[in-house]
Every structure is written in C-alpha cells, then in structure tokens.
C-alpha cells in the first residue's frame, strides 16, 4: 500500500465518525434541507469531472464523458444549493 492510499484511509476513518456526529445533531425540523444540502455537496464529483475533462492525456472519448459529467454535476450543485436556500428562507420563528 502506498503512503498516498494510507493517508486517504486515515482521512476516511476520521471523516465518517465526524459526519455521523454532525448529522445526528441536525434537528428533524431541518431534515429536508439537510437532504438537499448533502445532495448538493455530493456533487463534489465535479472535481473529478473537471480533472477528467481537462486532462492533457484525455482521448476524445474520455473528454466527452468528462464534459457531460461537468454539466451533470453542475446541475446538481446549482439546483441543490438553490433549493436548499429557498427552503431555509421560509423557516421563521415568529410571525411578523
């Protein structure tokens, strides 16, 4: 196993319990915004998509796949964040 892989595994080992802790503290009131926020965050795959689409060694085939992936993940990012914000704007404590 390379050091790279080992480091990545350590990151995973730490990130999973962190995620579990963070999410457990989210109020059930906000579970739908939580879903759509994490949905937007899962579009972090845009990073991989850009790397594939912009790679110097890309063949036309992989470049096409990469570009489609960039479009798809951007749709996910933009719609995910916007809908989350739209929802959260509505949560008010007291009436005016």
């Amino acid at each position: 196993m390379t050091t790279e892989t080992e480091m990545s595994l350590y990151v995973l080992i730490l990130a999973v319990p962190l995620g579990l802790q963070l999410v457990q503290r989210v109020s059930p009131l906000l579970h739908t915004p939580l879903m759509s926020l994490t949905n937007a965050i899962s579009a972090i795959s845009v990073v991989g998509a850009i790397l594939v689409a912009g790679s110097g060694e890309a063949t036309p085939f992989t470049k096409t796949l990469g570009c489609v992936a960039v479009v798809a993940s951007t749709i996910n990012i933009v719609s995910g964040f916007l809908i989350t914000d739209r929802m959260l704007k509505m949560f008010r404590k007291k009436e005016k």
């Binding site: 879903m35 912009g54 996910n76």
Partner: protein, 456 residues
Amino acid sequence: MDQIWQIAYIVAALSIVGSIKWLSSPATARQGVWAGQFGMLFAVIGTLLRHEVVSIEWILICIFIGAAIGAPLAYLMPMTAVPQLTALSHAFGTLAAALVGTAEYYRIHPTGFVMAALVIETVLGYLTFTASIMAFGKLQEIVPTRPITYKGQNLVNLLLLAIAVGLGAWMIIEPTPVWVFPAFAALSLLFGVLLIIPIGGGDMPTVIALLNSYAGAACAAMGFALSNRLLIIAGALNAASGFILSVIMCKAMNRSFTNVLFGAFGQVQQSTTAQASTRPVHSATAEDAAAIMAGARKVIVVPGYGMAVAQAQHKLRELTDALTKRGVEVQFAIHPVAGRMPGHMNVLLAEADIPYDKMHEMEDINPDFSEADVALVIGANDVVNPAARHDTASPIYGMPILDVDKAHTVMVIKRSMNPGFAGIDNELYYMDRTLMLFGDAKSFVGDIVKELPAHS
C-alpha cells in the same frame, strides 16, 4: 501553483464540514448553505488551477450549461415537489460520478487497488443514477407508485448484483476483454431500476436518504481512485448523512436496516390487502368541526402526505391564525415519516409561514394529546393508526405512532373511506370520539375557517 490548489481544497473541506454543522439549527442554517456554496466554489477553482488541467474553455462552457439548467429547475419547481427535485438532482450528480469512473477506466485501464475504487464508484454511480430517476418518476407519478413485485424478484436482483460484482472482481484482478466493462455498467444501471420497482411511494423517505448515502460513498470511492482527499471527506460526510437519515426513517417505521439495505421495502405491506370495511363511522360537516374547535383550548394538527397533495398548508395557516386569535392554542405534530421525504411536512408548513416553534416531533408532542381538545388529522393515515400498538397481525405493528386517539375529539379530514397508501384499515376512524370530515383537505379547512366567526 501547486500550493494554491491544495490550500483551496483545505478551505473547501473546512467549509463543507462547517456547512453541515451550521445546518443543525434553523438560526444558523442559511449560513450553512453559504458555507457549502463557498466550499464548492473553492473546490472548483482549486481544481481548475491544477497543472493537470490543461484546457479549461470547454469546462467553463459545461459549467455554464449546467448552471443554466440547474437554476430554473430549483426556482420553477413548487415546494411540494422538493422530494422529486432532490431525486432528479441526485440523478445528475451520481451520473457525473459514474461517468468520471468510466472515463478513468478507459484512460488508464488499471487493476488492483485503483480499479477496486473505480468499481465501487461506477457500480454505485450507475445504480444510484437509474434508481434516482426511478424515484423521481414514482414521486412525480410518471411511474406507478404502487410497488411492482413478481415472484423471485429478490433472487433475480441478487443474481444480477452478484454477476456485476463478479465482473467487477475480474476487472480488479486482471485486464479483461473489452466487453466486460460495458456489461458491468449496464448491469449496474439495470440493477438501479430493479431496486426501486418494488418500492412503494410511502417508503420513498427511506429510499431517498439511502440513495444520498450511496452517492456519498461513490464520491468517496472516486476520491480513492484519484487520490483526492477532498472527495473522500465530502463523500464520507454525505454517506454518513444519508445513512443516519435512513436509519432514523427505518426506526420510525419499525423496519430493520437489513430490510432496507437489500431493497426489500414494501414487502410487508402487500401481504394484507385491505377489505373495504362496512363498519359505521361518524361523519361531520365543516360547521360541526368549527363549533367544536371554537370551544377548544388546545388543537393539535397532524399533517400527512395528503396535506401536500391537496396543497392545504396555506388554508391550514389561516385556520391556525383564526384559532390563535380566539385564544385557542394550536400545535403541529409531525411524524418522522410523514410525507415523501424526511422533514417534508416541516418544509411545507414553513412555506405557509407557520412558525417552526409550533412544529413538534413525535416524542415531544405525544404526551400532550391527552390534554388536547381536538386532534385534527389531515391526510395522515398509518402514522396515527392505533393498530400499530396492539395488533400483532397488522403490517405496521410496532411502528411508533402519534397518540391522536388520546385526544378528546379526533377529526380526520379524508377524501373517502378508501384505505390509505399502505392499504391498511385504520381503527381510529371507527372510534366514538372520531369525526370523519369527508372532502378535499384544502377546501374543507377553508370551510372551517369560514364557519368559525359564527361561533363566539
């Protein structure tokens, strides 16, 4: 140059962690969204600055196209369609993950550890893609929402998955013939469809949470394939979030987690087909309901998916206002699986401007029902069925429910006596203290509001 993208990635990772942390309370939630967007921006800019990325014109065009499709999608969808939109948005994100995995495979044809990561990424990516599309179809009611089952379904599904896993393992061990990867991808796509077919609309909250978790796992796997720790962190957070939410949903429905993991949702429900009952019920008019509510001190409203369908939340707000003005205390009791998505009811009530400190979780509000004069059930069914407490033969036996039957008077707004989504009869409707208010939820609540001033 190299340091710049690394710093951008660290900022991105921190922002993403902060974004979920801030989402824990409504007071800081919007900050959380900003942090998330900020993090995503840094992730994208950081990636564009990496020396591996040689041509960015096409990428910028693609980002522009994606934003041009995504933004109207988020603004034009009505609030009731949030579950569908999330499912659709999900489909795009996981498609991206799957395509990246595919491109990586064709670029470097790896074996061993990197291929193992790619196999996990692509299988989860492709299956979550079609599964999300199917979930979208069911929620949008393009695809029949009833569970579709056939004999040996689980066997067929498991067999397909086993073949896909077998092909994946083959690709990890040694370079394979050209047909193997396409076959593997096709099986994953097919498996995603088959996974959702047997699932009923009522189980969608769990499914969407679970798909979210798969998408996160796919991202984390991508992080291993590309040695990219930002992807691992964001993916792991996501996988954890989806996992926790689906566990919460499972508990709220009294299902085991293995039951959910293997996609055997909706199985229990079909065993009983509801027989149309002929037992007598007490029905009442809007006038009767208004008279009782006018004299009440405390009213607890229990919304369910029917409220979303009828778009009754705004009328409900009017009713809340009218009752509050008369000195009646109005609270909302929300079951964890009410609606088609975790927290679905809260969003709809918030849309109608109902303050969130009036919405209560099941554990908190259950003791209050015994002192409530009226429990008003709108479009909810299984989550208030007392059979879950004592009838061991009932498919929902053991599921925690809202104790509406303890209220002094129970009012149920319902279209007709047809059994609800799960097809289970509800003994709540036949109680002496229960008044059935037959009609469309939206117009019925409107009628009650109109009748209220007559009672002083």
